[in-house]
């Protein structure tokens, strides 16, 4: 993977608005933003209802994912282009999710919805209609998904990258600053984790920084490029963005997203936790 295959820009999207091969999908943290206007032809995925099991804390299973994409008119050979607000935060999560279930041709719109809006490009409230398909997903690719035991074993062994804000990393905040702070779990971070806020990878307009800038950011934070990496945040969405940067833009092997993230780790009994700005010892 590389920038050329994983990213498209807004001009490319405008040129492919009527391309039947391309399926534009908006995925936003604010699940109502699509309804207030979206890129023409784009469909919506709701991360809270479409992409999460409604009973257990887990993703929808293979059969549910197949039913979802079939219903929305996404085919196995579709070029899926994802975009969303907030530096493509949730769009990157959906990208990782599509990869988890083996979709081959998936891309992010660089800058996402924000850049599109800041450029004053057209949005519409018109809802597209797509023919239903018969989508077949692959079994989950767990080479890109980390679970809790693997994360605990990675302390002092692999790169752990905590992509939350410095205040969440240190334990001064328990959640991103636009969400209420009442949480059950302990504050802090996993010992040895480097703190590279996910947003460092993006410019103010939401586009990704250059490969050289990105490499410098993670190298200076202590990421050892010869080691495997696990990225985490609070619920696994922001770390999808960092996973995208490390794996898809910079081409690192063996990068996993720990989607259980701090809401799981910070609630585990008996695991080590570090408070404060230092990474801590294994």
């Amino acid at each position: 993977m590389s920038r050329e295959t994983a990213l498209v820009d807004a001009d490319w999207v405008e040129q492919h608005l009527d391309d039947p091969q391309v399926v534009l999908i908006e995925v936003d943290e604010d699940t109502t933003s699509y309804d207030k206007g979206h890129i023409r032809g784009a469909i919506k995925l709701d991360w809270t209802t479409d992409l999460q099991d409604q009973v257990r804390r887990d993703f929808v299973n293979k059969q549910q994912f197949e039913a979802l994409l079939s219903d929305r008119g996404v085919a196995n050979d579709s070029t899926v282009v994802l975009y969303g607000g907030n530096n493509n935060w949730f769009a990157a999560y959906a990208y990782w999710y599509f990869k988890l279930y083996g979709h081959q041709d998936v891309k992010l719109l660089d800058g996402g919805r924000k850049k599109w809006e800041l450029d004053s490009r057209e949005l519409t409230e018109e809802l597209p209609t797509r023919e239903k398909t018969s989508y077949t997903a692959q079994e989950q690719d767990t080479s890109i998904r980390a679970f809790r035991d693997e994360t605990v074993e990675a302390i002092g062994v692999k790169n752990l990258v905590d992509v939350r804000s410095p205040d969440e990393y240190s334990g001064r905040l328990l959640a991103p600053a636009h969400l209420p702070q009442e949480q059950a779990q302990r504050a802090g971070h996993i010992p040895t984790a480097a703190n590279v806020p996910w947003s460092k990878a993006a410019n103010d307009d939401g586009t990704f920084k250059s490969d050289d800038e990105l490499k410098t950011i993670y190298t200076e934070a202590g990421v050892d490029w010869d080691k495997d990496t696990i990225a985490y945040c609070r619920i696994g969405e922001r770390s999808s963005h960092t996973w995208f940067v490390l794996k898809e833009l910079l081409g690192q092997d063996n990068v996993k997203n720990y989607d259980g993230s701090w809401t799981e780790y910070g609630s585990l009994v008996g695991v080590p936790v570090v408070l404060g700005d230092e990474a801590g010892e294994a």
């Binding site: 604010d30 924000k114 800041l118 004053s120 804000s165 410095p166 905040l173 209420p180 460092k200 103010d204």
Partner: protein, 98 residues
């Protein structure tokens, strides 16, 4: 609705006493700007969070106590920075004029 801006976003269900809230409205020539993005930067200038404004131009953050910078991005405008101090139990109101 204790602490909510008149006509602003509802604080129903939020325990304001426990939160250090920063909220406000983005305006251009007194008109609400519903397609702006407001970024919350910490005391070191590090990005902490970002929200799109509501149709009425409103935004809200649940920050920690201390000094923060709001950076507002909107179409056809240069970014606008505003420094704001948050304190627990207090709703800091900020008007951003483009």
């Amino acid at each position: 609705m204790c602490g909510a801006t008149e006509g602003g976003l509802s604080l129903d269900g939020v325990d304001v006493a426990k939160e250090a809230i920063i909220q406000g409205q983005v305006l251009r020539d007194s008109d609400p700007v519903g397609n702006a993005y407001v970024r919350l930067l910490d005391r070191t200038g590090e990005f902490t969070a970002e929200v799109p404004t509501s149709a009425t131009g409103h935004f809200r953050f649940f920050a920690g106590p201390g000094e923060w910078t709001l950076r507002t991005l909107a179409p056809k405008s240069e970014p606008v920075d505003k420094v704001v101090t948050a304190a627990r139990g207090v709703v800091a109101e900020v008007a951003v004029a483009l």
